[in-house]
């Protein structure tokens, strides 16, 4: 049972409730503009800290969203930036291949290398061209850097390449100056990933300086002449004093090539296709011209010397008393003991032998 105090409190509470509800209803029934004005005035005054807190919270939320967006953009940019060097390298390689295609005068087919992630990938390559592209077996495969290998097997749409890293690969080669001929083969006893080449059958007396360019010689009918095979790195070994085997730094890396060219025609030479060889050819032509010019000068010098010698001899002969010349029919036989100077004009006239070499 409620006491008087409880009843008082209860009435007061009820009255308070009614007043509060009345206030709420009055404000609720006010015109919306007036209600919004009251709310705005509250926001401008006593609720400013609450608004500030809410603004900071919203800022933090949007900051997180902005940060996430920035991180996403950064990741996208980083991903794109990672692809740029690859694209640049591929672009460069394709441009080099296009240049090579322009320089190669023989019929050829461009191919893409379908690399496989295996340890022997660089020994055998798979190309995306086949017999329907005109590719046949034993056709050379080249890259802008030089010789890659030879077609070993052809299907309709694919071809298998035996690269220079394959143990059975051989190519007849010679040095760019044409001085030394030999056979290039992969070095024995090396793993595929460290494959190198050897220039074999070079005679012991021939010494090759490091950096000497070795080209295919064209002998054998498989590889055209003038394809860069590698550069001499040093002597690999010497065999019993008659042969030197040189270690070559290969011109083309089969593991790294992505696009190659299959030479379809068996032409004579590809010397024009590779800049280094072209430069050497130009240098060789220049050298021949110099030799020819020097030879001409030498010959002219010899001729001048001979003419001067003849003039001198004639002058000395004219200065001495000339013997009476009898008719040929009455000419007595020359005394056998009369000595004749070998350099006399008469002796020269009578002699059919060429003049002695006076060149130093």
């Amino acid at each position: 049972m409620l006491t008087a105090s409880d009843r008082t409190y209860s009435r007061r509470d009820t009255a308070t409730l009614l007043v509060c509800v009345a206030i709420s209803l009055v404000i609720l029934l006010l015109p919306p503009a007036l209600g919004q004005g009251i709310a705005a005035s509250l926001r401008e005054t006593v609720l400013t800290p609450a608004i500030w807190l809410q603004a900071r919270a919203q800022e933090g939320r949007t900051s997180r969203a902005r940060f996430a967006a920035v991180v996403s953009q950064r990741d996208s940019t980083a991903a794109a930036a990672q692809a740029v060097p690859l694209l640049t390298a591929e672009n460069r390689r394709l441009r080099e291949l296009l240049d090579l295609g322009r320089r190669v005068r023989l019929r050829h087919a461009a191919a893409e290398v379908l690399h496989q992630p295996s340890a022997t990938d660089d020994r055998m390559l798979l190309l995306d061209v086949g017999s329907e592209d005109g590719v046949r077996g034993f056709e050379p495969v080249i890259a802008p850097e030089g010789l890659v290998g030879v077609i070993l097997n052809v299907t309709t749409r694919t071809a298998t390449v035996m690269t220079w890293a394959h143990p059975e690969f051989r190519v007849s080669a010679f040095t760019a100056d044409g001085r030394v001929f030999g056979l290039v083969a992969p070095s024995t006893g090396t793993v595929a990933s460290e494959a190198a080449l050897e220039f074999r059958a070079a005679s012991y007396r021939d010494t090759l300086a490091p950096g000497t360019l070795v080209l295919s010689s064209g002998l054998g009918g498989v590889y055209p002449k003038g394809i860069p095979v590698g550069r001499v790195e040093g002597v690999a070994r010497e065999q019993e004093g008659w042969e030197r085997v040189y270690r070559l730094l290969p011109a083309a890396n089969p593991s790294a090539v992505s696009h190659v060219m299959v030479v379809l025609d068996r032409g004579d030479s590809l010397s024009d296709a590779f800049p280094a060889d072209s430069i050497l050819a130009a240098a060789r032509a220049d050298s021949l011209a110099r030799v020819a010019a020097a030879d001409s000068a030498l010959r002219a010098g010899i001729a001048d010397s001979v003419r001067a010698h003849l003039r001198d001899s004639l002058a000395r002969a004219a200065a001495s008393p000339a013997p009476a010349v009898a008719p040929a029919t009455q000419r007595p036989a020359a005394p056998a003991a009369a000595p004749r100077r070998p350099d006399s004009a008469a002796a020269r006239r009578d002699s059919s032998a060429p003049p002695p070499d006076t060149t130093p």
């Binding site: 509800v21 206030i23 809410q54």
Partner: protein, 165 residues
């Protein structure tokens, strides 16, 4: 439960923390429509420690704050919070609830009734009223009940609240 001199400072601190949570933490949480309403928790904490008339006044004030900060029609929140404050104070005096689950139910019911009155008084269309009453308000009531129980559990010593599990 009543607030003596000793725990009035603690009570003020709890109210301050709840207001900060309402305006700083709540916007950072997930969907704000179902995030816990710390103003209702504050109102019910006040109502549980005071007479119904005081609860009604507290509801009126907090409703005015809510109306000023939300785009709902001004006055609807005042009416809703007034009724909730009064009923919470009256109900606790009637039921002598000290059980934590009863408190949780009070938080849930407080949010649900508050939302019901706000939606009804602000003249929302029928579809949104249905969704508000049967989807959003129960979810918000649940989250508010969980948060309210946590708050009560943490501040039970300061506010001398007896909680029976």
């Amino acid at each position: 439960m009543s607030f003596g001199r000793g725990n009035r400072a603690g009570f003020a601190l709890v109210m301050l923390v709840l207001i900060v949570l309402q305006f700083y933490l709540r916007p950072r949480l997930w969907d704000a429509r179902i995030a816990p309403d710390f103003l209702v928790i504050a109102l019910l904490v006040i109502a549980m420690g005071s007479r119904p008339g005081v609860g009604a006044i507290a509801g009126l004030v907090l409703g005015l704050v809510a109306d000023a900060l939300t785009p709902a029609r001004v006055g609807a929140g005042m009416l809703a919070h007034t009724v909730v404050g009064y009923l919470a104070s009256w109900g606790r005096a009637v039921f002598f609830a000290e059980n934590i689950l009863v408190h949780a139910g009070m938080f849930f019911a407080g949010v649900w009734v508050r939302n019901l009155i706000v939606v009804g008084a602000s003249g929302a269309p029928g579809g949104s009223v249905f969704r508000e009453i049967f989807v959003i308000a129960p979810l918000q009531g649940l989250t508010t009940a969980v948060a309210g129980m946590l708050v009560l559990y943490i501040v039970r010593e300061w506010l001398e609240i007896r909680l029976d599990v």
